[in-house]
């Protein structure tokens, strides 16, 4: 008999995901990219071995998709000032030179993969526009920090 996907299971999986994985990531950008990375680039399905082991593959996929959408909407619709702060926090949490990360992000635009597949077109466009602006602001701040005069 096929297992039925219930709302309670998905909520429990989301709680588990939040407590065991997401709570250890300090920035919203970090959480968003972590959730986006659990999605298969070809099929768009979400996979998380630990979560699937504790619940089921289907429940885990649904929980990840919902958490991803929620994290994305929460970040994309934030005031630009907070958005820049979140990006700065993420860039400084990665063990690499900030200017190197900014250069790669501006060139390759890897943040595009952070958009959930079912997000509306305009919110997705706002997110991309905000990342470009935020990168320019963080780059200016980094340049002022490195070359004060």
């Amino acid at each position: 008999m096929p297992l039925r996907l219930t709302r309670m299971d998905v909520e429990a999986a989301r709680e588990d995901l939040k407590n065991r994985t997401l709570s250890h990531i300090g920035s919203r950008f970090g959480r968003l990219l972590c959730l986006a990375s659990t999605r298969d680039y070809s099929t768009g399905t979400y996979c998380h071995d630990g979560l699937a082991f504790r619940f089921s593959e289907e429940v885990a996929a649904r929980a990840l998709a919902e958490a991803h959408r929620e994290e994305f909407m929460g970040l994309a619709l934030r005031p630009l000032e907070d958005f820049v702060g979140e990006l700065e926090l993420y860039i400084h949490s990665v063990p690499a030179k900030p200017e190197e990360i900014i250069r790669v992000w501006q060139k390759l635009e890897p943040y595009r993969v952070a958009i959930p597949i079912d997000s509306d077109r305009i919110t997705a466009a706002l997110f991309l526009a905000n990342v470009k602006i935020a990168l320019a602001i963080v780059a200016m701040a980094e340049s002022r920090r490195n070359y004060p005069h």
Partner: protein
């Protein structure tokens, strides 16, 4: 008795006609949207209102003030260009949603004999009001960007929601419930943050 017979027959005939009319009206109302299986999906998926926070973010003053504080002309230009495009995109989406809803409604109304003229007029007035406001907003955005338009945008968004709700009310009960639950699910995933 024989003099009253024609009146009795006429009365019975009228009762039968009234019953038939009621049954027909019920049948047409029930099937009003049933023949539009694809449109039903279309209505659920595409005529969904955009997140209210999106309009506030695009047309509000907060982000613009933050950019002005940075004191960088090229950044300001980039921001203005982006927000202008996004503002126009938002308007296009609101207009497209209204058009889709009206198309579905018109096709359904064409097969329905139990139309309520006042409700139809209200829907038509809301549809034209959305288009008129969108035209004014598009002109304002093209001339001076999406600045200080929050109130007018909120009004257009409110009208769009009203149109959506008005047309949804005409759905048969069981379909409305299905439509409603799908929307709640879609919305809950998006706005729970």
């Amino acid at each position: 008795m024989s003099a009253a017979l024609p009146f009795l027959v006429l009365g019975l005939l009228l009762i039968v006609l009234l019953i038939l009319s009621a049954v027909w009206r019920h049948r047409f109302t029930a099937t009003r949207y049933e023949s539009f299986q694809d449109d039903r999906f279309f209505a659920i998926r595409h005529a969904e209102p955009l997140p209210p926070a999106l309009a506030a973010r695009l047309f509000g003053p907060e982000d613009r003030e933050f950019i002005a504080k940075q004191g960088c002309a090229s950044l300001k230009r980039l921001f203005c260009r982006q927000r202008k495009e996004l503002g126009l995109c938002w308007l296009r989406s609101v207009r497209a949603n209204a058009d889709r809803l009206m198309r579905i409604h018109n096709r359904a109304a064409g097969k329905n004999f139990g139309l309520e003229p006042l409700l139809e007029l209200k829907i038509l007035a809301e549809y034209f009001a959305i288009h008129a406001i969108c035209q004014i907003l598009a002109l304002a955005i093209c001339v001076r960007g999406p600045n200080n338009l929050s109130r007018m945008v909120a009004y257009a968004g409110g009208l769009s929601d009203q149109l959506h709700e008005g047309i949804k009310q005409l759905l048969p009960a069981e379909l409305a419930a299905e439509n409603g639950s799908s929307q709640v699910y879609l919305k809950s995933g998006r706005t729970r943050s």
